[in-house]
Amino acid sequence: MAYKTIVVDDIDILVVGAGLSGTGAAWEARYWGQDKKIVIAEKANIYRSGAVAMGLYAINCYMGTRFGENNPEDHVRYARNDLMGMVREDLLFDMARHVDSTVHQFEEWGLPIMRDPETGTYQREGKWQIMIHGESYKPIVAMAAMKSADKVYNRICVTHLLMDEAKENRVAGAVGFNVRTGDFYVFRSKTVIVTAGGASMIYKPRSTGEGAGRVWYAPWSSGSAYGLLIQAGAKMTQMENRIVLARFKDGYGPVGAYFLHLKTYTQNGLGEEYESHWYDELKKMVGEYIDHHPVPTCLRNHALIREVLAGRGPIHMVTMHSFQDPHLEEVGWHNFLGMTVGQAVLWASTDLDPKCENPELTTSEPYVMGSHATACGAWCSGPEDVSPPEYFWGYNRMTTVHGLFGAGDACGGTPHAFSSGSFTEGRLAAKAACQYIDDGKAEGIVVSDRQIEELREKIYKPLENYKIWNNEVVAGDVNPTILYPKQGLIRMQKIMDEYCGGVSMQYMTNEKLLNIGLKKLAILREDMEMLAARDLHELLRCWELHHRVLTSEAVMHHTLFRKETRWPGYYYRGDHLYLDDENWHVLTVSRRDPKTGEWTMEKAPLYHIVGDVEEEYQKKKAAKS
């Protein structure tokens, strides 16, 4: 193959994926490493890449300590409550105490953040959310990253990380290919910050035609955050904690502003409030967690799912009251146009006027990610001044692989970071990465030509497979020897759907199903040796699929390991249908041995921030009993 090999040498900090956390990492790295070589490798075009490519209408993580609104520990309590206790509170506290400085800088750069006309404070959508005109959110932060980075390599699909051959378990850079020219890129770097995306399209979607593109999380979020780290042997955490979203049906338009700011509410097909119907059942399943405020997202999902199964669907979002106010109506439309245009397209096409008709809600297929109301990701070190010993190994946001950092979707245990928190995590990782280099931890890295050559051959194999085996058939996609990436994707989605609690199983699975699923995934991975790509676009899809399948494997293993139903409404272990704090008030941690492909699982202790609120709560609880 005539593709050139382009070696980018002597990089200090390589940022893989330039979404919100990647742009944050690249930007901040320049301050702590003014003479360092900072390079970004981005799969698309940095101006519009990552989950914020479309824009956002709200920044969902802003403390507002400046306005006396919330403190970082309040956010920790909020997030752990929403995740049924399972979060890394050290990482969350750390993100929350820095996030406001990120947002204030966004405003300074020109991001239009709405103000409350009366108080002059940021316009709140809810307790944590502030409203923005964020159509150009991504281009604005992209410009910041471009200003800091020595070079941005756009359209580079990073497929693998390079590993040091001098010292075990130390990163040495990354490799990938240019989706346009096809050239092979070798990035030799002292540190790598993986800020790639979480995983959409892991599960069979509800819409299986064109509408498959209208996923809740971006279709280009290909699980590379996990695929790259798992391949490198980094430990992962909470990968069972996939998320299911209750959203406007089909369009998956956001509901946050609708609930919080526009004061719309839900009702069942009979026009009744329905969440209370499921209180007793949930009380049995999760105990006192159902009494928490706000009610955890997964439990509200559970009520929605059960209500529909009880035959009292559809669930409606009652917009007809609020939308009589023309100002609120306008906010409702801007909300969609600013971040989920497809929902506006859907309402336009179906002539739905939310003033006159209440739109339907549904629960989505599951997604695997770590920055929204869920916490999948790598097992990362916390900050020195907050983290207990089990959570600290030297450098903030460093994974269990030396020199390899994670932020955003890649960093596990930090839900509710959203855009601003992800950018902040990128900043934290960047500072730590500079420190790591300055401490001399990245000396003497060795990467042999053999490692690079082997990866090169592996990367282009799908093109080779196609060239050779396409001769077997007259025409068409059906070939007994090779598999196209779309075919592999659909097979993976079906396995995940049917064996790991997808939407057609009403999110139900059990040990037997999971074991079958794992077997099927292993066979899929065998077949993927014969993945075929007709062109560079399909080669991109092949590697996205590799990352997605590795993510799926992790999800399966974690789901199998956690023998309880911690998040009813996200998924159910039919053989362990109850929350089990006795045995499972812990974080799950996995590692896939890069050499053997064997997975090992372990439990990690869960630390909670203890402050007056908790103590009061404990007292109350004691008094009650």
Binding site: I46, P139, H327
Partner: protein, 282 residues
């Protein structure tokens, strides 16, 4: 004068008579017209065009007077047609103007030479114009073909990778480049074989150029102005192809969404962000 020589006069030595050349020109014109008509009829593109226009008319918020329509036609001719104003990328606009005027000059001077000076060794102004046209076409063409063509610029493909869409540009490059080479070698003693070779390539290019209209992008010369005119009409009659008005900030400051920017001077421009770069981020 060498630079005013008439390349067609030299064809006699290959046994090509003026009559044959003139017939070729006439056939070429017929081929172009036939290609366009076949295209329009077979693809029903004209039918689509008019039905689409009718449908859009229903969305019109105002009736255009015939003088407005005439003025728009003039605008289209002055802007889109004569100065290629629709191009966003200034380099492509310059290349397009070079190609377009080069092609016109080249074709017209070829026809003049063939019909009025078929046997004269030197053709003065028209001989010179033939070269000017060919050079303009070749310069604009090669610039476009190797650098500006979207397959190269944005898709990152090698300039020599060809697709059917390149039939038109490649045949233009052929007539201009091979034409110039053929002309050059006519003047070099002992290069008859080379002159013949390049003439043959020139001839093949011309056959593809004029004979391949149905399959190539040749037709855009006729379709694009029509589409440009239609676009102007639709933007003026209020149907706007469903596009929102292209407001200036100052016009919408009364909207509640604009609170944050109300105090910014109305004439302040923010510059460019994504659109400041050429579309080749890879």
């Amino acid at each position: 004068m060498f630079i005013t020589s008439n390349p067609f006069a030299g064809l006699a030595q290959f046994g090509i008579t003026p009559g044959m050349m003139q017939i070729f020109v006439i056939l070429a014109i017929i081929a172009v017209v036939a290609g366009i008509l076949l295209d329009v009829a077979h693809k029903k593109s004209a039918k689509y065009f008019f039905e689409h226009t009718e449908r859009m008319k229903k969305l019109a918020t105002r009736q255009l007077s015939s003088s407005e329509k005439t003025s728009m036609l003039v605008q289209v001719i002055l802007n889109e047609v004569l100065t290629s104003s629709e191009f966003h990328n200034p380099k492509r606009r310059i290349a397009h103007l070079l190609k377009m005027y080069g092609f016109i000059i080249f074709v017209v001077s070829s026809a003049v030479l063939i019909f009025f000076y078929p046997t004269e060794q030197y053709a003065g102004f028209w001989g010179l114009m033939w070269r000017v046209g060919a050079i303009m076409l070749a310069v604009g063409g090669w610039w476009f073909f190797t650098k500006l063509r979207v397959d190269v610029l944005s898709e990152g493909k090698k300039w020599y990778k060809l697709a059917r869409a390149d039939m038109f540009i490649v045949s233009l490059l052929g007539v201009s480049t091979f034409g110039l080479l053929w002309c050059f070698f006519q003047g070099v003693v002992g290069s008859t074989a080379l002159a013949l070779l390049f003439f043959a390539l020139f001839l093949i290019s011309a056959v593809v150029l004029f004979g391949g209209v149905y399959w190539s992008k040749f037709g855009h010369m006729f379709f694009k102005p029509a589409a440009a005119y239609q676009k102007r009409i639709l933007m003026a009659d209020g149907s706007r192809e469903n596009l929102p008005p292209f407001y200036k900030r100052a016009e919408v400051l009364d909207q509640s969404t604009m609170d944050l920017v109300r105090d910014i001077p109305a004439d302040q421009k923010f510059g460019l962000c994504i659109m400041k770069d050429e579309p080749n981020h890879y």
